[in-house]
């Protein structure tokens, strides 16, 4: 049994480090990003170096909110440069024998849009880094604009619903599968409602990053942009898993398997009713959303089954 698969009694047993953040960090009320940012270093350890960019995480990770901060080393670079900057750091730390886990910590806008080229390049070169995408399905820091991770039909400030506009006209890039096709050393999806699953994957990620590229895709609903009650965010994460909207799986060397299999998935309406970004959708819009997730889940299932 590897360290990653060993069953532990409590989530605290996975922690190797104390809290790295001070109190009073300035994220929006109910945002899962704060929990994610606090959680990740507890497992990866204090030798992790954050590489980030202007985004929802920047105010806290890169010292804009100077009333509260963290103890980790970090590099805040331009949006086009996250994976490539991490490459530069990781190459030098490895060359000089410095113990470091270099972690890119970016939103879906950076990962799927403007920072995709260097991300794809770093994956192909099998750089020894962890690239963590917190997917809130749009550019939330700048005010809820669409990204290529925004699902079809979602209302955003650049795909607004109006007399003619019906929300985003195209489906989201299936980013975890796009990254799977790079055959990284390790890839996993995770979300905060399934914390132990997330913890195991982080433990594994740290081990695997010593051998090559690791991609983590973390579902991270935005209470402000998606218009969710701030006390319901973890419930939205859980429902995303239970509807198969966001399946939990992992892959070593491009071979995927589900880590949480949902016995009887709930309809997508259980998910969409928790937020208002889909509230304008009529039956056909909802049906299309359901069809898209069914198709994507079937494809993933086939990839997983073909692997057994």
């Amino acid at each position: 049994m590897t360290e990653a698969t060993k069953k532990k009694s409590k989530i605290f047993d996975y922690f190797c480090e104390e809290e790295q953040f001070s109190g009073g960090v300035a994220w929006c009320a109910g945002c899962p990003l704060e929990l994610t940012a606090r959680f990740v270093p507890k497992i990866l350890g204090k030798n992790m170096v954050f590489v980030g960019t202007p985004s929802c995480s920047a105010p806290v990770l890169h010292g804009q909110n100077i009333g509260a901060w963290h103890k980790l080393s970090y590099l805040a670079c331009v949006m086009t440069g996250v994976a490539s900057s991490a490459t530069g750091l990781s190459r030098y730390y490895r060359r000089t024998g410095q113990d470091a886990t270099v972690v890119c910590f970016t939103g879906d806008g950076c990962a799927t849009d403007i920072g995709f080229q260097p991300l794809s390049g770093a994956a192909e070169r099998n750089e020894h880094i962890i690239y963590l995408t917190y997917d809130n399905e749009g550019y939330m820091n700048t005010g809820n604009q669409r990204s290529s991770a925004t699902p079809k039909g979602a209302s955003t400030t650049t795909t607004p619903v109006g007399k003619v506009g019906r929300g985003k006209p195209t489906t989201a890039k299936n980013m975890p599968l796009v990254m799977l096709m790079h055959q990284p050393r390790y890839l996993a999806t995770a979300t905060l409602s399934h914390l132990e699953d997330f913890a195991k994957k982080l433990v594994k990620a740290k081990e695997m990053a010593k051998e090559g590229f690791v991609y983590l895709h973390v579902f991270s609903p935005c209470p402000v942009g998606w218009r969710i009650d701030s006390n319901l965010v973890i419930e939205v994460c859980r429902t995303a898993v239970r509807t198969n909207y966001f399946p939990l799986w992992e892959a070593e060397n491009g071979k995927p398997h589900l880590t949480v299999e949902v016995a009887s998935p709930k309809p997508i309406t259980e998910f969409t009713k928790l937020m208002r970004k889909f509230s304008h959708l009529k039956e056909d819009g909802i049906a299309e959303l359901q069809q898209t997730l069914n198709d994507r889940y079937d494809l993933l299932k086939k990839l997983c089954d073909g692997n057994k």
């Binding site: 204090k46 030798n47 992790m48 170096v49 590489v51 920047a58 105010p59 890169h62 010292g63 804009q64 100077i66 103890k71 980790l72 080393s73 970090y74 590099l75 805040a76 670079c77 331009v78 086009t80 440069g81 994976a83 490539s84 900057s85 991490a86 490459t87 530069g88 750091l89 190459r91 030098y92 730390y93 060359r95 000089t96 410095q98 113990d99 470091a100 886990t101 080229q117 260097p118 794809s120 390049g121 192909e124 070169r125």
Partner: protein, 399 residues
């Protein structure tokens, strides 16, 4: 102490640049191929493959990533090198600004080439001009030996504790990148010795795992202004530092280039031609010929373009009767060429003499002996009070 006589080899400018980088022992290299720079990237990869260079080479998927890789590695503490040209230089623009703002001592070769608009795979300095406000030090060299020597000097400049700024070494694409000429390759031990003083400086700030260190912190209001002010001050310090390093290089290796500017027959000259890069070599030939005809002409070769060598230029041009500036690029939004526009800002200090702007050598068109000869004649006429044309696009007049 003097350096040993190095091996003399006939090499292209690109191969010389790769050798110069190798001799400086960069720990991390990232480069993306682009004409006319590709040979530099290839040669460095070959050095690593042959065990002649112990560097991490990152074969990036674009220039923007190349600059990010070397910027971050530099911030972590590495000595780094990259090379690019033209579209590649402008593709890394956001990171070019970031690297300077981070005060990361990156040394980069930029093989001058025309820039997008009209597709042009040809020489010109427009790429360097397009990035002149990026906060980098920019140096232009004239020949292959100077490529070698200036790259070595650039590490002394970039990594100097008082400077800590990225340095861009520019040489003409095609004219130098593919020109093979005899070059003395310094011995490794001598380059090591010349760079040795860098090891005795206080350590620069670095991002170290587990030590609560950071880079790229949001600078709000005064924090931002202070960082900008210090960056600006450091760039001002580059001027004297370039002169000092050039002198130290000359004393050790026996070759020096005048530092910020190189003056040729200027002491008793009435009129000056200002040129840069490989055209300066042609200009020297013209100056000699004109001297034989009794025209007291001199040449100022502009080596340092950023920061602009204000004090040295005033010193060189004070008391002269007229100046002609040859620009290998265009200053969009101003009538004159970029270097001429900047020289005109010094007019109050050098006196109200005629300053004639010439645009020449764009897109691989040669800056020929007749061209420079014509410049000298027109500047001489302007000096004697005749009326003159402000700006002349030499190739357009030859149509």
């Amino acid at each position: 102490m003097k350096a040993k006589q190095g091996q003399r080899r006939v090499l292209t400018g690109n191969i010389v640049a790769a050798n110069a980088a190798r001799l400086c022992r960069p720990e991390v290299i990232a480069a993306y191929p682009i004409t006319p720079q590709s040979e530099v990237a290839e040669q460095l990869s070959a050095f690593v493959a042959d065990g002649m260079l112990d560097s991490e080479i990152v074969e990036v998927e674009g220039e923007n990533s190349a600059m990010n890789v070397v910027c971050a590695a530099s911030v972590a503490g590495a000595r780094v090198f990259t090379a690019t040209s033209s579209y590649g230089l402008v593709f890394m623009y956001d990171t070019l600004l970031q690297t300077a703002g981070f005060r990361a001592p990156v040394v980069m070769v930029n093989v001058n080439r025309e820039t997008p608009g009209i597709h042009a795979v040809s020489s010109g300095q427009q790429d360097m001009i397009a990035t002149r406000d990026s906060g980098w030090a920019q140096i232009i060299v004239e020949n292959n030996q100077e490529i070698m020597d200036q790259i070595i000097m650039s590490y002394r400049l970039a990594e100097d504790f008082d400077i800590q700024l990225p340095v861009m070494v520019n040489y003409d694409g095609y004219y130098l990148s593919y020109l093979a000429e005899a070059v003395e390759l310094p011995e490794q031990s001598d380059v090591d010795a010349f760079l040795e003083p860098l090891k005795k400086q206080p350590g620069r700030p670095r991002v170290i795992p587990g030590e609560s260190t950071g880079c790229g912190t949001h600078g709000m209001e005064m924090g931002y202004v202070e960082a900008r002010y210090k960056h600006w001050l450091a760039l001002e310090r580059v001027k004297n530092k370039v002169d000092e390093i050039d002198k130290a290089f000359g004393e050790y290796f026996g070759r020096s280039y005048g530092g910020q500017i190189e003056e040729y027959r200027t002491a008793d000259a009435d009129i000056i031609v200002l040129a840069s890069g490989s055209a300066a070599g042609t200009a020297r030939t013209v100056i000699d010929a004109k001297r034989e005809q009794g025209i007291k002409a001199g040449l100022v070769k502009l080596r340092l373009f950023r920061p602009f060598p204000e004090e040295r230029l005033i010193q060189a041009l004070k008391g002269k009767k007229a100046v002609g500036v040859i620009d290998r690029s265009v200053c969009f939004g101003w009538k004159y060429g970029p270097m001429c526009t900047e020289l005109k800002a010094l007019a109050p200090s050098i006196g109200s003499i005629p300053i004639l702007s010439y645009i020449d050598g764009l897109a691989n068109l040669d800056i020929t002996i007749p061209h420079i000869s014509r410049v000298v004649d027109e500047v001489q006429a302007a000096a004697s009070g005749k009326s003159f044309q402000d700006v002349t696009w030499i190739p357009m007049e030859e149509l």
